[in-house]
């Protein structure tokens, strides 16, 4: 009761602060800016927030908060546009949305998918805020109950979702996840600093690959290339079958799923150190497990959109707990947010343990500004979704060059190296072949995303556990098998068993025909060869840095084992068996009028030209050549479209103060922005 005595007046004060016209005005302004930034995949809230920072100094705290929260809150909402319409995962929060959202767009149901996604986001955001209002006062001990073993178990729970997404052949899915994890270990190890599959001569590799690049390469590039080869619109038959009202009705019909996934989002969100990387996969897995008819997942099941979207906005609310209570940012944008709060007013709002005691009204303002920003953002997004969904009826050949432009820019922003583009291309190739031979791409991505947490948490938990065991056996057991860990182990086991039983019904890549042995076998051998090289490489790390080699060795061996069993199976089975799935045998890709390599050559051309001329000049040539030659547009149309593309790119990059990849030309001659 004492809690209510302090909470209720503070909550009242918070609402009094928020419900002023000028505060709401700033909030709407922030939301509109956030939506504009969110259009760019891969940029996220960080770019927008950094832009606002210089104005925060000495600003009235509530106004500054309204502006910033408006901007941060809507990025996970607006990046849904890219995931659903183009199959581009805009951020880690919208990876799982791609799985069913994009197939819906291909079925001509883009507006319905968007509306269902936005309604779920809105609801998730509100559930998150309500939950937090009650929870934040007692959250501290609960957050502290999640130690390293607990975090490791949650990561493993996330990893167990591979079981359900593994596809028709569980071994292929496991091998894909293992390969993803091995790609995730590339670079300098966190613990001992050993290099894995990297060298100091190529500094780019020492940092490892970024999630943005892997997400774009695995999901976006294969889809873009495939659609481009077929030379059609995203929506088959170029028609929109369902409107946005259908999406809202879909949400109504699945509101309890939405409630459950929102709660998953809040709970996982409050655990510092995990962030958004697992939450949408856990929500997706839960959605699949609780759906009776699983045959539509991967082909455009609306529940597959509602689940992850409900969780990812609720997660934003949950993520405020570690940020506000412990001063530990859960993401890059939250880090800037903390920095910016200190700039506000006279600078006496200090994020951290004192926040609840001294600034409870501000804390509640933040929670509810976030919820309110969600409402405003969702309404704007739904209003726009009908119109924006029409993009899916345009002939894809006119969209593709601009998508190549966007993903190249997004990839470059992740590390500001030319190598980012090369990495995007290389990962894109892996994605194309995983898709072609029906190896689960979601499994690969889950493996990649969770590679670092699995390695970090298992090493650290192991070290602390052995420290406890040295003190006494009981202390060690208490540490490793806490009640939370035991519950998580049970959930994980149940979800693996259920998942493996159900996985065969879920075909993330749709129906795939099978063909001859040769191509799938070669792909398998290439993967196995990489794993062998990576294993040898990891084994060369000296033993005193065991922490840096143990995970690559274990994971790599398991993945290699999967590959070897697959190899034996492939040798023993007949041609035409489902194990030899190959999209180039029959179906959309096989019947496409354009070949894979000639289509990919356009993208390669853009990258090569960038190497010589820098991004903008290369882009001018690329857009004009592509529209003229590939799309067959007239000169007038070509020039207008190219100018629009370049103009848009420069406008956004200029406003956000971003650079473009420079080429050899820029190294030799000084050119003015945007050419430099």
């Amino acid at each position: 009761m004492e809690i209510f005595a302090t909470a209720l007046p503070a909550l009242g004060d918070a609402w009094a602060l928020i419900l002023q016209p000028v505060v709401l005005g700033y909030l709407v302004l922030g939301v509109v800016m956030g939506l504009a930034v969110g259009v760019f995949p891969g940029l996220g809230g960080i770019a927008g927030l950094s832009l606002l920072l210089p104005f925060m100094f000495g600003m009235d705290p509530v106004l500054g908060l309204a502006l910033m929260i408006g901007m941060v809150a809507v990025v996970p909402t607006s990046d849904t546009f890219a995931s659903v319409l183009m199959g581009i995962p805009g951020s880690s929060a919208s990876q799982a949305t791609v799985l069913d959202g994009f197939p819906m767009a291909k079925n001509g149901q883009a507006a319905r998918a968007l509306a269902a996604a936005f309604t779920s986001s809105l609801f998730g955001g509100l559930v998150g805020a309500t939950f937090l209002t009650m929870f934040i006062l007692v959250a501290r001990p609960i957050v502290l109950a999640f130690g390293l073993p607990e975090m490791l178990m949650i990561t493993i729970l996330g990893l167990s979702m591979v079981a359900i997404l593994a596809g028709r052949f569980a071994l292929k899915g496991l091998a894909a996840a293992g390969l993803g994890m091995m790609i995730g270990t590339i670079g300098e190890a966190d613990a001992g600093g050993s290099l894995r599959m990297a060298t100091y001569d190529i500094p780019y590799l020492t940092d490892g690959l970024k999630l943005v690049i892997v997400g774009l390469g695995i999901f976006a590039i294969p889809e873009i290339v495939s659609l481009l080869r077929q030379d059609r619109s995203i929506a088959k038959g170029a028609s929109l079958g369902a409107g946005w009202m259908d999406g809202v009705r879909d949400w109504m019909a699945n509101k309890w799923l939405s409630v459950r996934c929102s709660i998953i989002g809040v709970v996982v969100g409050i655990i510092p150190g995990l962030g958004g990387s697992v939450v949408d996969w856990i929500a997706y897995g839960h959605t699949v497990q609780t759906t009776k008819d699983k045959t539509n997942f991967g082909k455009g099941e609306v529940r597959g959109v509602i689940g992850p979207e409900s969780s990812n906005n609720a997660k934003e609310g949950g993520g405020l707990v570690p940020t506000l209570l412990f001063g530990i940012p859960g993401s890059g944008s939250m880090a800037i947010f903390i920095g910016a709060i200190a700039l506000l007013g006279s600078g006496d709002i200090e994020v951290g343990p004192a926040m609840l005691k001294n600034n409870l009204d501000i804390t509640y303002s933040i929670v509810w500004l976030l919820a309110l920003a969600n409402v405003v953002g969702t309404i704007l997004c739904i209003a726009a979704s009908g119109g924006i969904a029409k993009l899916t009826t345009i002939r894809f050949t006119y969209l593709a060059p601009f998508l190549f432009m966007l993903i190249s820019f997004a990839a470059f922003q992740s590390g500001q190296n030319f190598e980012d583009l090369l990495a995007l291309f290389a990962i894109g190739l892996i994605g194309i072949f995983l898709r072609r031979f029906d190896w689960s791409r979601p499994a690969f991505l889950i493996g990649f995303v969770l590679s670092n947490p699995v390695e970090k948490f298992s090493n650290q938990a192991f070290q602390i556990a052995s420290f406890r065991f040295r003190k006494s056996f009981e202390e060690g057991i208490d540490y490793v098998f806490s009640p939370i860990v035991i519950v998580l182990i049970i959930i994980t086991l149940v979800s693996v068993v259920l998942g493996l039983r159900q996985a065969k019904a879920i075909m993330a890549e749709g129906e795939v025909q099978s063909g001859s042995k040769r191509a799938p076998l070669i792909f398998l051998l290439v993967i196995a060869a990489y794993l062998v090289v990576a294993l040898i490489n990891a084994n060369m790390i000296p033993d005193y840095n065991l922490t840096d080699k143990i995970i690559p060795l274990v994971v790599g061996s398991l993945a290699l084992l999967c590959c070897l069993i697959l190899l034996v199976q492939m040798m023993r089975r007949q041609e035409g068996d489902a194990i030899f799935a190959d999209k180039e045998v029959a179906g959309e890709d096989a019947d496409a009028p354009y070949g894979l390599w000639s289509t990919l050559a356009w993208f390669a051309g853009l990258i090569v030209a960038t190497w010589f001329l820098g991004f903008i000049l290369a882009l001018v040539g690329f857009l004009i050549a592509f529209l003229r030659v590939r799309a067959g547009a007239g000169w007038g149309k070509t020039l207008i479209l190219a100018a629009c593309g370049i103009g848009f790119m420069c406008l956004m990059a200029g406003a956000l103060n971003r650079d473009f990849p420079p080429g050899l030309l820029q190294g030799a001659v000084d050119l003015p922005w945007p050419l430099k």
């Binding site: 920072l53 130690g147 300098e188 922490t547």
Partner: protein
């Protein structure tokens, strides 16, 4: 031939002189310009906080009130950004670069990734910080101003890596004869504090701002006992009590009180050298190589104006702690302090890293 060469050289010299003199005659004015302050770390670290604090103040103090934006270029433990900055040349004075102890240490330890040279750059501002080590309540009760009663306790500590700033606390605890096992691989000191709060770690250290923001609350609740600060440097280079924490003893005092810990000799010299390079001058702001003197002077003046603000002491103590900010000559001196470490100290630390943690920087 000689005469011709002489004439040519004279002409060239004259042109060169004129070239240098010309911009000096014009007032440096940044009206309508955007200053990019590049930080070789991610948005989450202390350097981001530091640059975001000084950025708006600098903007107001520079002539023409340019917009100052902080750009982040993380990678390879900040060596990527520093290598990039090494390639930059002066253009119009709108590029500023910030380094931290994590940029200094790889440079001092001969990390193979380092392709930058501090002495090529022009320091315009430097600031320091301090650090506080603390223990959990149970073990803290055994602490009596010396580490004598702590030698039989096993400690566990969440660390970012032995070659980072964590080198200073790890070496200090070892000199005190304490058995501290680092758990490597955490991403920031905030994560270390969380590990301490969860009871997984039983010893921790924070830089001043981190201690003020998060750990003092633990101390007030009786969950943590402060052990020592690293201290601060007086004008003569002696280690004295940290002005932000005058009530907490320095490592030097604790070392003197502890059996077997020496405040002279190789170990002490090495510790002090790396402490000095990492804390009293932790963060430096640089203009690129080849920057003309008048631009340097403009920045120096601007930073002096920032420090001279009536409210500077108040706003800075909350954000970055009560530590001197060096400008102009002071910044140059600070650069020397941060980057000149005797070879013997380097050798000692390199050996110790190899023996204690198997870390070799080759």
């Amino acid at each position: 031939m000689t005469k011709f060469n002489f004439t040519r050289r004279a002409v060239m010299g004259f042109i060169a002189a004129a070239g240098i003199a010309a911009p000096a005659a014009a007032e440096v004015d940044f009206t309508g310009k955007t200053i990019e302050w590049v930080i070789p770390f991610s948005e989450t670290g202390g350097s981001a906080k530091w640059a975001n604090f000084f950025g708006p103040l600098l903007s107001e103090a520079l002539p023409g009130k340019p917009t100052v934006v902080v750009k982040f270029m993380p990678g390879a433990g900040s060596t990527k950004g520093a290598n990039w900055f090494q390639e930059q040349e002066h253009e119009d004075g709108t590029l500023l670069f910030g380094t931290s102890g994590s940029t200094q240490f790889p440079y001092l330890l001969g990390d193979p990734r380092v392709r930058y040279e501090y002495n090529d750059w022009n320091p315009v501002m430097a600031s320091g910080t301090g650090g506080v080590a603390y223990l959990n309540a149970e073990d803290g009760a055994k602490f009596d101003g010396s580490a004598n009663a702590l030698k039989d306790t096993d400690f566990i500590y969440g660390s970012q890596g032995a070659t980072r700033l964590d080198l200073v606390p790890l070496l200090a605890w070892q000199m005190l004869g304490m058995n501290v096992e680092p758990v490597f691989g955490i991403k920031g000191r905030g994560d270390g504090r969380l590990m301490f709060e969860r009871g997984e770690a039983n010893i921790d250290y924070q830089t001043s701002s981190g201690y003020l923001g998060g750990s003092t609350a633990l101390v007030n609740d009786g969950k943590a006992i402060p052990m020592m600060t690293w201290g601060a440097l007086d004008a003569d280079g002696n280690i004295v009590r940290d002005p932000t924490f005058p009530d907490i003893a320095t490592f030097k005092e604790v070392c003197q009180a502890t059996d077997g810990c020496e405040t002279s000799g190789d170990a002490w010299d090495a510790w002090k050298a790396f402490f000095v390079a990492g804390f009293p001058v932790q963060k430096l702001a640089f203009l690129p190589a080849g920057t003309p003197q008048d631009v340097i002077d403009t920045y120096t003046k601007a930073f002096q104006d920032v420090v001279a603000r009536a409210d500077f002491a108040e706003i800075s103590s909350k954000r970055v702690g009560k530590y001197p900010v060096f400008t102009g000559e002071g910044a140059q001196g600070a650069l020397g302090t941060a980057t000149q470490v005797p070879d013997s100290a380097k050798a000692y630390v390199t050996d110790w890293l190899q023996n204690a943690y198997g870390v070799s920087l080759k």
